[in-house]
């Protein structure tokens, strides 16, 4: 029963969703949005599970003084600070249990939750994102090392695209006569991006779509069951 009921539900819901893709009439027209609402309600309850997991995992590491336990403590303090500030004084236009906290707002310029969000969280998030620039450089260096014919092609294409996207690259080939326009850096860049690059991406997208199709069909008809925890 533990396996059968979810499988029956999966089959029914899967078939209904497929039908609703082709039938515009009520009730099929409302099914997708209704199911999405149900999903949101369930995930709202599941959020509590996540919070419990977060507190339990981190507090057990702090309690047993595991290596680097200070980081886990910092995580817990951050979590509770935001929760408490949000509950007491709310955020943006929403009031908290103690109202809008006008006196604190006069002192900080914002509500405590918004203050921490704007001055701590956003900057930390931006810092992580900005790491990408450095990682792209190191990854590109490895990718462009010429080891084979393919990596040679990759490097040549990359140089053309990188130069073609800059004014310097355009300037390099701007002296070419109009009849040799196809040798201009900007033209070659657009050509690479528009044709070989798009063709390869579409091929991947088509194959992925077929993969999604097959995977969904296996799940709907109950052949694929490992997402339920067991394939037996």
């Amino acid at each position: 029963m533990k396996r059968t009921l979810p499988m029956i539900l999966t089959f029914l819901v899967g078939m209904i969703v497929i039908l609703s893709e082709f039938i515009p009439h009520f009730p099929f027209s409302k099914i997708n949005s209704t199911l999405e609402s149900w999903y949101l309600i369930i995930s709202g309850f599941a959020m509590l599970l996540g919070l419990i997991s977060l507190v339990r995992v981190n507090s057990s590491k702090v309690a047993s003084k595991e290596e680097n336990w200070q980081y886990y403590l910092a995580g817990l303090i951050s979590l509770f600070t935001m929760v408490i500030f949000g509950l007491l004084w709310g955020m943006q236009e929403t009031a908290g249990l103690l109202g809008h906290g006008e006196s604190i707002q006069n002192w900080l310029g914002k509500k405590p939750f918004d203050y921490l969000f704007d001055n701590a969280y956003l900057h930390l998030s931006a810092t992580m994102f900005s790491l990408l620039a450095f990682f792209i450089a190191s990854a590109a260096y490895r990718a462009f090392i010429i080891r084979s014919f393919e990596s040679n092609l990759l490097m040549i294409s990359a140089i053309i695209v990188i130069l073609g996207r800059t004014s310097f690259g355009t300037m390099l080939t701007s002296w070419l006569p109009q009849r040799l326009y196809f040798l201009q850096m900007s033209y070659m860049t657009d050509f690479i991006m528009k044709y070989p690059n798009t063709a390869a991406q579409r091929a991947i997208m088509i194959s992925a779509a077929l993969g999604i199709f097959g995977s969904s069909l296996r799940i709907i008809i109950g052949i694929e069951r490992s997402y339920l925890g067991s394939d037996k």
Binding site: S43, L124, S125
Partner: protein, 366 residues
């Protein structure tokens, strides 16, 4: 009464209100009853057309302006089976008067999206091919499936983690449970956790969403049960981290640097964080396997990971790893789909070269 009739006649002369075929509201065919098509065909001396929607209290709201004497306009976001009133105002040069036309229409729901006919046919063809191959596989026919290096490497990765006594890190992507890539990722996690349990290796699964957390816990727990080692299952190794994209990345980077996992698996939906994760993992020297259907992130994974599952390989993983004939049969159905698309692309290109747009129009869904 005399004055009343005189007033109506005079009003009709000044504002000739016409509910004629010059302005019509027609139900948009084969849709969900949320659109009407307004069509007009006006005399040649009309200038600048303004179309308004009139609500129940008679207030008109301008919805479209045009200079075309004969054209149509699609009104969307309407409610099905409800009467709607529209007016068209124009200025006739010959009479020197404004002309007002009024019409009514009711959008109705249909039982089939005709513009999705091609999609339905393709869906049925591929579904039949998949089901037929599953049937053939059930009858015991040997099916050839090409090797997928990224999946064959799973044993190598688990073996290495066991030798080094280090954990395995499995990242199920940043998608929620309603994302098919996350489901595919969890099916791979099931196989991985089973093998890891057999080798007594530890699997760490940080999750971005609570729904993924509960599903991942169930999957890993069942895998340990299947391996006959329920006592080795540690619930705290599968944990929720944060909903925030870069907070999640920072947390995983921290795990990679502190715990130094011997093998990293990044399978599922990934966006900007893909390279940050893969490069950090690369710097720790872990053997890395990645897989996603997000085409834009694949180059980053290819560069930084030892093995990459590209597009459909992620979805084929469960069938490939389980070696279940029925599931392998469904993979053959994919191949039919690919062949069908190749044929359609070639025919389409040839037809377009000869200026025949039939196939393109038929296959256009929008």
């Amino acid at each position: 009464m005399k004055y009343m009739i005189l007033f109506i006649v005079l009003f009709a002369c000044i504002f000739p209100l016409q509910a004629s075929s010059a302005f019509q509201a027609i139900d948009n065919a084969w849709d969900d009853g949320t659109a009407l098509i307004l069509k007009w065909e006006l005399p040649g001396d009309s200038l600048r057309i303004a179309i308004s929607q009139i609500d129940e209290s008679g207030i008109a709201t301008l919805i479209h302006e045009s200079l075309d004497l004969s054209s149509e306009f699609k009104v969307t976001e309407l409610e099905p089976n409800k009467d709607y009133r529209f007016s068209l105002t124009t200025y006739a040069l010959s009479s020197g008067d404004s002309l007002i036309y009024q019409t009514m229409g009711k959008p109705t729901q249909q039982w089939f999206y005709m513009h999705k006919l091609a999609l339905l046919l393709l869906f049925l063809l591929i579904a039949i091919a998949v089901l037929y191959n599953i049937y053939v596989a059930r009858r015991g026919k040997e099916l050839f499936i090409r090797r997928i290096n990224g999946l064959d490497s799973m044993e190598e990765a688990i073996g290495r983690a066991t030798e080094k006594g280090k954990p395995i890190l499995f990242v199920p992507g940043i998608g929620d449970l309603d994302d098919i890539q996350t489901i595919a990722s969890l099916t791979i996690l099931s196989h991985l956790a089973h093998r890891a349990a057999e080798y007594n290796s530890e699997v760490i699964v940080p999750c971005r969403f609570s729904m993924v957390l509960s599903a991942a816990r169930e999957v890993v727990k069942e895998a340990y049960l299947r391996a006959g080692k329920p006592d080795s299952y540690r619930e705290n190794n599968i944990f929720y981290m944060t909903d925030d994209q870069f907070g999640y990345v920072a947390g995983i980077d921290g795990i990679m640097l502190r715990e130094q996992p011997a093998a990293n698996f990044f399978l599922g939906t990934f966006y900007a964080e893909s390279l940050i994760l893969a490069e950090t993992g690369f710097s720790t020297g872990a053997i890395q396997t990645s897989g996603t259907a997000n085409a834009h992130q694949l180059p980053f994974f290819v560069v930084s990971c030892d093995y990459t599952l590209i597009g459909e390989e992620l979805f084929a993983a469960s069938a490939y790893l389980s070696r279940d004939p029925q599931q392998l049969g469904s993979l053959k159905g994919h191949d039919f789909g690919k062949a069908l698309f190749i044929v359609l692309i070639i025919i389409g290109v040839v037809l377009e070269m000869f200026g025949i747009g039939f196939l393109r129009q038929f296959l256009s869904i929008g």
